[in-house]
Point group: C2
Chain length 246, copies 2
């Protein structure tokens, strides 16, 4: 197996870091790798924010409820960005752009662009012996994160990423079997067998892992998670920034 596959297959989210710093050269290599990901129709429809200001990091740690958002070697926030495409537009051109800027297609384009770049950043970091974790909980208060970073219209924060040297390597979290996530030619509607097998795996995992043992299965965990409406304000926020309005 080649070194890159080994890196990909060895992923685990790291939520505790040593005090060791990362160099600018490492940060720049991570950004360069992110930028080389594919981008829809060459749009490069994302921006990467770096947060180094300690006060802003503290605020983001409060919003996310995660102290490793403050304590890490570097913090990125990945944003969907359709702002720079308008920078040189005339008033008339801007008006004509609006249908695209505001449709769901371009919310998808820019979010997917940002995610492809981010995953390259993750792999680049891990290839250098760093650990990383995505931070979806910036959407706990997406409006506040937006203000904190002074994002203009047509730019929205999607998720964060912390990196640093891992304090330890936690166990790897199991995934659905290949048969549970990959279907050929036609979607498999009855996934009972795959889900039951996975739930058995997960019950064992939660029972035996070194920390936070509990009795739980994936299906039960998901059912609980979806019961309570979450981040309902994201819809209105996204529209207020000029995305996903038609």
């Amino acid at each position: 197996m080649n070194e890159t596959l080994q890196t990909l297959l060895n992923h685990r989210s790291i939520r505790a870091f040593t005090d060791e710093k990362v160099t600018d050269e490492q940060i720049f290599a991570i950004i360069e790798a992110a930028q080389m990901a594919s981008t829809s129709s060459y749009m490069q429809a994302y921006t990467i924010m770096g947060v180094t200001d300690e006060d802003k990091k503290a605020q983001l740690a409060r919003i996310t409820g995660q102290d490793y958002v403050q304590h890490n070697a570097h913090l990125f926030i990945f944003c969907a960005d359709l702002y720079r495409h308008q920078q040189k537009a005339t008033k008339e051109q801007k008006d004509n752009m609006l249908a695209n800027l505001e449709n769901t297609e371009h919310l998808l384009v820019s979010s997917i662009d940002a995610a492809l770049a981010a995953q390259n950043a993750a792999i680049a970091a891990e290839s250098m012996g760093l650990g990383m974790c995505f931070i979806g909980s910036i959407r706990n208060n997406i409006q506040q994160v937006d203000s904190l970073l002074s994002l203009p219209s047509h730019v929205i924060p999607l998720f964060g990423m912390v990196i640093g040297y891992p304090e330890k390597q936690p166990e790897q979290k199991p995934r659905l079997s290949r048969e549970g996530i990959y279907f050929e030619n036609e979607y498999k509607q009855d996934q009972t067998t795959e889900l039951e097998a996975f739930d058995d795996t997960i019950r064992e995992y939660y029972k035996h892992r070194s920390q936070n043992n509990r009795k739980d299965s994936w299906t039960e965990q998901m059912l609980r998670r979806f019961q309570k409406p979450m981040r309902m304000d994201v819809s209105e926020f996204v529209q207020s920034k000029g995305f996903n309005k038609r």
Copy 2:
């Protein structure tokens, strides 16, 4: 520079493949790598479809207008998926899930999950000497692609990916400078300098590249691209599948 960074930085989209086949082991390694990407709150909110049926591939080539969608060693379609999470829900639980299933937050969660997995798949393929290209143009007729793959409600096709052995290595396409895409602590609203520098680079690139030479800049290309409303039906389609309704 490590082997993985080299792979990441060496990316170019491949749109023409030799007749050499890929093995099942290669496909499975690509899927396994995809699955090891981070996933929001363990949701694994995506499905990977493999299209091997020649008739379906031909239909997809027609929809996308790209013959390499038919002529490749393997074709994947990455889908956002919030279907499997409901598989074991009671009627009451399903009703309670609906607010989450239908909000913009979970359109983002599932699209980002799918994109993270897809980028791992891309890197895995490239690490094995394969070439790949994302296929956003399945959204030219997203409804038809949806029917072709028999996707149930709460599953939508987002983009395809073709892989195979590259017929040749095209030139690499330049990216915005780091200063054009990465900002610290505060968004940089005036990007004129970065965009003008990038436009100079792109003019040279289009003038001198070995095929399809033209006189063009990135800014002009983007302005043209955004003038005409594109894929306006994606909004309604996404809602018809139970996503992004509130």
